[in-house]
Symmetry: C2
Subunit: 204 residues, 2 copies
C-alpha cells in the first residue's frame, strides 16, 4: 500500500502517528507531494481524491481512500491489535466523541486560522483575515475544555491513548504557526502534552 | 436512553434518521431544547456537553455521548444489524471517507453559511457576512463531487444506503435556508435525492 502525503502538513502526520502507534509503518510506502506548489490540485491527483487533499491511501487493488480518519479506520479494522478507536460500544463512542471535538473545535479552527491569516493558499482560496483572526482566538478557547477533561483523565478520551490524543497533539504542534500555545495555567494539558510528545510515535 | 435535541436542527435529524433506518427509534426518548433561546448554553447543559451543542445521548449509567456521528457509532456497535457504517475494513473506510467528505465540505460549510449570513446565533458568536457568503458559494460547489460519484454508484458510498447518505440528505434539506438547491443539470444527484427522501426514515 502507498500513501500520498506531504510530510510537513498536519493531516498526514495524524496518519503517520496512528500507524507508528499500531506498529504498522512498514505496511506502507510514502510518496511526497508539494502541496504549496499545487501538486495536489492537478487533474491527475483529483482522480485519486476529488477533494484534492492529502493524505490519500492507495490500496493494492488500485482504489483510493482519503480523509485521515477514514485511512486510520481502515488500518484499525484490518489490524485490530493495539486499538486506538476503542473496542466496546461505549469506548468507541467516547473516543469518536473526543476525536471529533478535538478535530472540529480545535484542529479545523487552527487550520482555518492559519489559512485565512497567512494567505498560504491564496492562489486557490480567498483568505478572509477577520475570519482567520476569529479562528485564532477560538482555537485558544478549546484548551479550557481539554484542561477540564485532563484534570480527570490521563488521556483525552479516558485511561488509554487513542486517536483523540493524536488529533490534539498534531493540533498543538501545528498551532505554533499561528502563535497559539498551551497556556501556562493549564497544568493538566501541559502534563498530557509532555507525555504524548515523548512517545516514539510523535517523532514520525 | 434519552436524547437531548432540537427537532428542527440538522444535526439531531442525522441521528433520528440513523435510528429509524436501523429500527431503533423505540430505544430512546427525546427531550427538546430551545437552542435559539440558549437552553443549550446554560451551565447545567454544559455539564452534559462542554461544547454546548445538541444532540446529546444520555446512557442508562448516567454518562453522556455528544457529537452526532459518535452517537451513531454507539448504536452501530451495540446493534450491528442493518449496518450503516460498513462491515469489511474497506467498506468501513469508504463510508467514513464519504461521510466525512459530505460533512466537512458540505454540511459544515452550509452550517457556517447559515450562521454567518443570517446572524441566527449573533448573541453567542460574531457573524462575518463575507465569510458566510463564501461558504454559501463553496457549499454549492460540492454538488459536482456528488454528481460524479452518483453517476457511478446508486448511493453515495457505493451500492448500499449508509450514514454518508444521511449526512448529504440532511444537508440538502437544510441548505434551502441559504437558497442552495441541487442544480437542474445534475441528474444523478436529483435521482439520488428523490430516492432517499422517499424512505420512511426521511420523515422522522
Amino acid at each position: 500500500m502507498k500513501i500520498y502525503e506531504t510530510s510537513t502538513a498536519p493531516s498526514p502526520r495524524r496518519v503517520r502517528i496512528f500507524l507508528a502507534e499500531k506498529g504498522l509503518l512498514d505496511k506502507v510506502t510514502f510518496e511526497q507531494l508539494d502541496i504549496q506548489a499545487g501538486e495536489n490540485i492537478t487533474p491527475e491527483f483529483r482522480l485519486k481524491n476529488p477533494i484534492a487533499k492529502v493524505p490519500v491511501l492507495e490500496l493494492d487493488d488500485g482504489s483510493y481512500i482519503s480523509e485521515s480518519v477514514a485511512i486510520c479506520r481502515y488500518f484499525e479494522a484490518l489490524y485490530p491489535e493495539n486499538p486506538l478507536m476503542g473496542v466496546t460500544p461505549k469506548e468507541q463512542a467516547e473516543i469518536e466523541m473526543w476525536q471529533r471535538r478535538c478535530e472540529i473545535y480545535f484542529f479545523n479552527i487552527v487550520g482555518m486560522g492559519f489559512q485565512h491569516t497567512t494567505g498560504y493558499f491564496a492562489d486557490r482560496m480567498q483568505p478572509n483575515k477577520e475570519w482567520g483572526e476569529q479562528c485564532v482566538k477560538g482555537a485558544a478557547k478549546f484548551f479550557r475544555v481539554l484542561e477540564a477533561q485532563l484534570s480527570q483523565n490521563e488521556f483525552i478520551a479516558g485511561d488509554s491513548y487513542s486517536i483523540a490524543d493524536i488529533t490534539a497533539l498534531v493540533t498543538v504542534d501545528f498551532a505554533r504557526v499561528i502563535k497559539v500555545r498551551i497556556p501556562e495555567d493549564m497544568p493538566n494539558v501541559l502534563r498530557w502534552y509532555e507525555a504524548v510528545k515523548q512517545r516514539p510515535s510523535a517523532k514520525v
